[in-house]
Amino acid sequence: MSLKARACIAGAYEHPTRLAPDKSVAQLHAECAIGALNDAGLSLSDVDGYFCAGDAPGGSPLYMADYLNLKLGWYDGTESGGCSYLAHIEHAAAAIAAGHCSVALITLAGKPRSSGQATGTAFRAPPFERPEAAWESSFQWTIGGLYGMMMQRHMHEFGTTLEQLAWVKVAASQHAQHNPNALLRTPVTVEDVMNSPVISDPIRRLDCCVITDGGGALVLTRPEIARSLKRPIVKLIGSGQTLQTNGGGYIDLTRTGAQRSGAAAFAEAGITPADIDYASVYDNFTIMVVAQLEDLGFCAKGEGGRFVADGNLISGVGKLPWNTDGGGLCNNHPMNRGGITKAIEAVRQLRGEAHPAVQVKDCRLALAAGPGLVLGSGHAHATVILERE
């Protein structure tokens, strides 16, 4: 069953906070929920479908549904790391199309910054019950180390350069200077990135995203309901998701799940990457943007470094306006999970509500894509394509 145009994103909200020591995670989820419902012109009593991931207190929809006192006909706690919320968009559309619910709420929130988490550089031991844990935990891998190996392989196989990768951060910083809520608002240069200290070879500090408290929420609904609201119509016209495994020990660190999730989303939408006016592509590290742009089909495999260089991701300057909120690299990476903010900025662009300095003129087709967890050790990916009616 195609989900094309069966559901609309009627509400989108990014929490303005980046540091919230005095709020609970439940409070942040709830503030995001109310923010997205207010944006849509709906209320909590309208919600009959609820979607959240492992960041929700208790790791299940149960406890936030109780906190919000939701009256539900459908719920989904799919946990696939940072892309969970992009997968939830597809799941919500499927539930709406199947008649399980009419107003679907998706929330994300967390406080890694105020809790002092060293997301990329500290080893977090997996539970021993996990089947890969015995074989990997002793090496105390870090997220920076795993993405460092990905970056090194990409440079080795395709000749991608550190300067090309630095342009990804430069573009994010050019956009973030216009976002009053962004954590890092000062534009940086290629030289700034090149001169930033190495975290885990070859990743430098400025190749990494920020660590922030906060969250976001989305509201999806049936097209008939969306048309009754006072907001521009943003339809989901394509979606795809995958779990990419270690292949039983036969890995390729340069290829992401975007190959599969992107192909599914473009096929359903009936469009090609050349049709996309604006792209939100999850930027936990600069290399992940380059690899995903290749795997989504914006350029050939191995050409991503050349594609992103020379400002080509800067809105109004380059050929692909990208992460115009400043992305995870400069704006926000709430709870170490960038999926929902990717969808939120895509909705802003399609509504014409992005900052005027970065707004894409007549933005009609937008993509939001991102990974979850880490390549080579349990990797998810999801892509959605949205159209303004």
Binding site: T121, F128, E129, P131, E132, A133, A134, W135, E136, S137, S138, F139, Q140, W141, T142, G144, G145, L146, G148, M149, M150, Q152, R153, H156, P197, V198, I199, S200, D201, P202, I203, T245, N246, G247, G248, G249, Y250, I251, L253, G376, S377
Partner: protein
């Protein structure tokens, strides 16, 4: 009077104990041998060792003693760790690639494709893990 037999360290290791089907691996590792689960049907070795072949779904698997040799697929040195250490993926001569660390080598001497050989080191929990060092000439 005979001494009570000391249980192997890996039997006290929660990570190893949770997977009884991998006991032979840890017993061999304690003797410095690297075993690979290899499929009787597709004849390929996989990693990490499982009760089914993830390459073809067969249940007919045997343990095969691996050469312990391989080459560096990718590596990344955690420069800010104290002391710095080098995380790596090593592709074994038998085919599969595994996560490990490169030891007994200065980070600047490591390169993709460099020949390496296994060197078991005890985990904090007690099982012996396959680390890798530059191969003997």
């Amino acid at each position: 009077m005979t001494e009570p037999t000391q249980a192997p360290a890996f039997e006290q290791d929660a990570f190893a104990a949770a997977f009884p089907e991998t006991r032979e691996f840890w017993a061999a590792a304690a003797q410095g041998q690297l075993l690979l689960k290899t499929c009787d049907d597709c004849n390929r070795a996989h990693w990490y060792p499982r009760a089914i072949c993830p390459l073809c779904g067969s249940l007919k698997l045997r343990w095969v003693t691996a050469s312990g040799r391989g080459s560096v697929y990718a590596f990344s040195t955690a420069r800010r760790a104290q002391p710095p250490y080098t995380l790596a993926y090593v592709t074994l001569a038998e085919g599969p690639t595994l996560m490990t660390r490169i030891v007994d080598a200065s980070p600047d001497s490591i390169a993709i494709g460099m020949p390496v050989q296994v060197q078991f080191q005890a985990s904090d929990e007690g099982r012996m893990m396959p680390f890798f060092r530059p191969a003997d000439q």
